[in-house]
Symmetry: C2
Subunit: 404 residues, 2 copies
């Protein structure tokens, strides 16, 4: 008789955003006249930039003609895209990353869920708390997290690095030594980040401890401050200790287009074993490339027109972020993030729990946000709003909140 992977049974409840969707649907059904504004899930709303649309139409036409039709893509991704990534995301910032260190994928969610596979089961992971749920859940499924305590909402074998008002949302080096350190900077959900010097400290720490940093840079396009790194490879020594995950979802609006990439430097080795070769093997065995049309769309992100248009798109969302931040501050909230990231993290008022505030906001302002506790125990008492709505909706939501 076959046996299932019992680790799945350990996962508490369902995925955060499914729970939110269910609550919102129930409220909508009971109150069909209320116009709900969603500033919850980190999903973009602006249409794809014209340069990207143009590139996709061209690629579709190529797929319709025998001479230009493309079948299976190269395992790592097309060279035209990997070269554009290297040039724009790395060489332009002085980072020495080569095209065969780039692995194009169908998005950073897949990569951040799958990357743990190349590590042994008995590695100890460290995560910021609060954190993007996929890092922990994918390690639960792999049996790497021990037992779950529903009271503390913590896993026995996970090292939590609290990021709260008290430490200015800067994770501290943990007391126990981790093997794998997940860092998402600028951070989802807090919208905060750390300086380049602080990140250099993490690189030095990892190299000394023999740990690998899994660096999720999905939000780097939103960085506005000078002293914040866009890539971990801006730090010295990062190539011997860091894997970087990148997404096209937030800088180019690709949440429904699906494209991302992972950087595994060739210098990253466990003894004699190259992690680059391991990931290449994983990629070649369990994945068959991102669609040609989507890879051409990715290339257009780096064209002159694409860059110009996407700068405006990011500015549009950051105007929303400023609107939320200022509006909340005027309404008397304590607010964080929103300067180098499209997320605003607020302290719930009146000692409300995160889910109490979720219900309060849904029922009284018809605004949907994300409860901070859904991202980890240290998120309790906080709440996330995103800048990805339309400007009109963002403005309307803030007016409603200010009237509460």
């Amino acid at each position: 008789m076959y046996k299932i992977n019992d680790n799945y049974q350990k996962l508490p409840g369902s995925y955060l955003f499914s729970t939110i969707a269910k609550k919102v649907n129930a409220y909508s059904a009971a109150n069909p006249d209320k116009k709900i504004i969603r500033l919850g899930i980190g999903d973009v709303t602006q249409p794809l930039a014209p340069a990207i649309i143009e590139a996709m139409h061209k690629a579709v036409d190529e797929m319709g003609a025998a001479e230009t039709f493309r079948g299976y893509a190269p395992d790592l991704g097309y060279e035209f895209l990997r070269n554009a990534i290297v040039k724009n995301d790395y060489q332009a910032r002085g980072c020495d990353i080569a095209a065969d260190e780039i692995f194009v994928s169908d998005g950073a969610k897949s990569d951040s869920g799958n990357i743990q596979e190349i590590f042994a089961e008995n590695n100890r992971i460290a995560v910021c708390d609060p954190v993007y749920p996929v890092y922990v859940d994918s390690n639960v499924m792999a049996g790497r997290t021990g037992t779950y305590d529903p009271k503390t909402e913590m896993w026995s074998d996970v090292i939590y690095m609290p990021c709260t008002m008290e430490n200015n949302f800067v994770p501290e080096f943990p007391k126990e030594t981790p093997d794998l350190i997940y860092l998402c900077l600028p951070n989802n959900p807090t919208g905060t980040t750390i300086t380049k010097d602080q990140l250099q400290g993490w690189v030095d720490y990892a190299n000394k401890a023999g740990a690998v940093i899994i660096y999720d840079a999905a939000y780097e396009a939103y960085i506005s401050e000078e002293n914040v790194a866009h890539s971990i490879y801006e730090c010295e020594g990062a190539k011997t200790c860091a894997i970087e995950l990148k997404s096209f979802s937030k800088n180019a609006g690709f949440t429904g287009v699906r494209l991302g990439y992972t950087v595994v430097p060739k210098e990253l080795k466990c003894g004699e074993v190259s992690l680059n070769a391991m990931w290449a093997r994983r990629h070649g065995t369990k994945f068959n490339g991102a669609p040609y049309i989507v890879q051409r769309a990715g290339e257009a992100v780096y064209s002159d027109a694409g860059k110009e248009q996407l700068k405006e798109q990011v500015a549009y969302y950051m105007k929303n972020a400023a609107t939320i931040k200022d509006g909340l501050m005027k309404a008397g909230y304590m607010v964080f993030g929103g300067v180098n990231a499209p997320y605003i993290w607020l302290k719930t008022p009146d000692q409300m729990t995160s889910w109490e505030f979720f219900d309060y906001l849904l029922e009284n302002a018809n605004v949907v946000g994300t409860p901070g506790s859904g991202f980890g125990p240290s998120g309790e008492g906080y709440f996330r709003l995103t800048a990805f709505g339309s400007y009109e909706n963002t403005l309307a939501a803030l007016e409603r909140i200010q009237k509460l």
Copy 2:
């Protein structure tokens, strides 16, 4: 210090098709004047059908306008696609499969690599021999296959079910009881298949043994004989023992478009645990949906125009299959497959090994095929040619082979 997943180190050599590509590239470089014809990898060459191109252009335009832009897709896939799948691939064949039993993905390679994750490490897998390498390799990575014997090219904990001339390429029930049974029918690489009655025998066997069949139906569009099942759910009792994987790569030429789906029936349970719920959780945690544009392309596969155009496309490739089969038989080869599948499986002449015949064919006819031994030890002494080339190339390749 972090530890790697040591199972990766057990994988012998590199992925079959990478090895072939390297050999062909070396030959090309040394013989730049030779025109090589590739009938090796199972990659399609015909352009996408007009109905699909039209649907993709429309979807691209939708992504370029705020009112019709789509962000994250629903976890399971868009309903328009899942409904079309249910209606055409299941209800039309009398199979009672519901839309929430369909999980849309980026292709059957990902699904066939990932599906093992929801099962425990100590399950025993059974595979046909020869077989698509991903089934075994993904289980090696998960530590489920024991040790590798380079002499026999077999894993100690894998149950091999030889499919050779001697048993007419029909796998026999294994002596040891397996927990997970991978069946790819019509088979890749042999191009052979079994009757619906024989498949019913496997379903009965699995239900009795408490095993799950992972049924890869990637080639069902090529079935021409009446007594062959297009879906395992045509068999009675399959919903309590079978997961079905489907690809759009071969029936619609989507190798570079990337779309597939997996069926996990709600009746498939391990005790009280629903495998449908487990796969939903895996899908929701480590995957973020196939691109909207690609899902619309998939929908067009089921439109009246799409069906008509794809029937012609399949007929085009099957004409190639007949050309190869007849040509090889005239040249004195023993040939199998090619009737319900786009693959032709031939016995190598003169006791040549599969790789000897690969070199012989490359050097003397400048034709690339795939060595049977690359698909498993029982593939030794066989060789695969695919019908996915252009008709002109297929004809030219056969003329060259006949002249040898």
